[in-house]
Symmetry: C2
Subunit: 228 residues, 2 copies
Amino acid sequence: MITKETSRRLDPERVVDTALAIADDEGPAAVSFRKLAAQHDVTPMALYRHFKDKDDLLAALGDRLLADVVLPEPTDEPWDKQLHALLTAFVDALRAHPRLADLTLPRILVATPGLALAERALELLIEGGFSVDDAAEIGRQSICSLIALVTTDPVAREVSDPEAREASLRRKRASLSALSPTQYPLVTSAAGALICPSSRDRYYAIGVDLVVAGIRGVVDQPTLRTSV
Amino acid sequence: MITKETSRRLDPERVVDTALAIADDEGPAAVSFRKLAAQHDVTPMALYRHFKDKDDLLAALGDRLLADVVLPEPTDEPWDKQLHALLTAFVDALRAHPRLADLTLPRILVATPGLALAERALELLIEGGFSVDDAAEIGRQSICSLIALVTTDPVAREVSDPEAREASLRRKRASLSALSPTQYPLVTSAAGALICPSSRDRYYAIGVDLVVAGIRGVVDQPTLRTSV
DNA sequence: ACCTGAACACCGTTCAAGT
DNA sequence: ACCTGAACACCGTTCAAGT
């Protein structure tokens, strides 16, 4: 029994692999059908058999990231602790690909791992006392915040080239230290922390803490009571 | 005394005006030097006298948005109430241009209105009990969250074309209602709220509330005490 | 200083055609 | 079903040149 790989010269999964690699170090804008085709010894048009258009390819990248989310098992801890663990799992998956984190948003309610995440988040929020609709709204916004957290990861944001990265940091530092300390006393004295956080782990820990603390603080808050 | 407009055929501010208009309804990617040049009866290359490159043009757009921020006067209310007002002012300026909100992030510590906002935010956070460095970190993350809030504004996100918008909403609703209600009971029952929030004002109100509640909840929290 | 013209090295995507 | 070839309508940007 011989493999029937006669007609399938192109494996879509392998195309996504190389797209992921390109996007990781040059950003999603640098991913092009022409580049991918060249790397797979094929005409650009061949890709259209496997991806409807570029958006479809990027959607596949988003699905890849979501597939890396490992949901924590339910425990008997309070809802907010479990939500914290759930959101940390989400962030942990995205952290590996900071430039692509955005791509997950439109895929969450489509890809299976995204749906599982959403379902569990709603469960916990409702356990926390939110109505179904409020849970949906709060959950949506929390996910957006965390994606933004990853997207703006100050460590990974710059180009992979470490020398260009250093140059950009120096430029930022210079522009801040050129400011008048009497006009902007706090901005100038916080320059270091504003430009680059002390540690990447701490950055993400604070990010998730802020989101969960926000949710905890907003239960039974007047804004949610507003009809409309 | 006659106007000396002999040599300046091209007014950079007017170019930014039309770039803003294009970006507002087709997104920043649709802004091109060639299109702008055509609309101003000039060669694409003429723009390079006024903008170093496309990034420089987009930076000018970011500055435009920041210029619309109207900082509230300091009052004698508690720090968190004042911070709420400050962040609301920021969001209010960005809301007018949801597709461009991202462009402000790299300009905040550069443009004057952004610096004023940052300085005031740091003041209030320090008044709230944060160290200078923690205030910087928390402030940075809060701004990122709010930009994401605007960027993902579910009402304005889709194309301006209201018919295409309706079609996209229908497609999303259909994809959610195709899910198994036994497997995803909450996602399916919250479908409406997940796809589109009830009101735009409420959406933004909840967004700012969440951020401020998060900050309030995180004062004196263990994560911030971690050295490093 | 400000603008033009031609050119280079890219894009996504359509359409008709091959096997 | 899967891939090719040629073409269309775009991009940003460089370089040399005009006034």
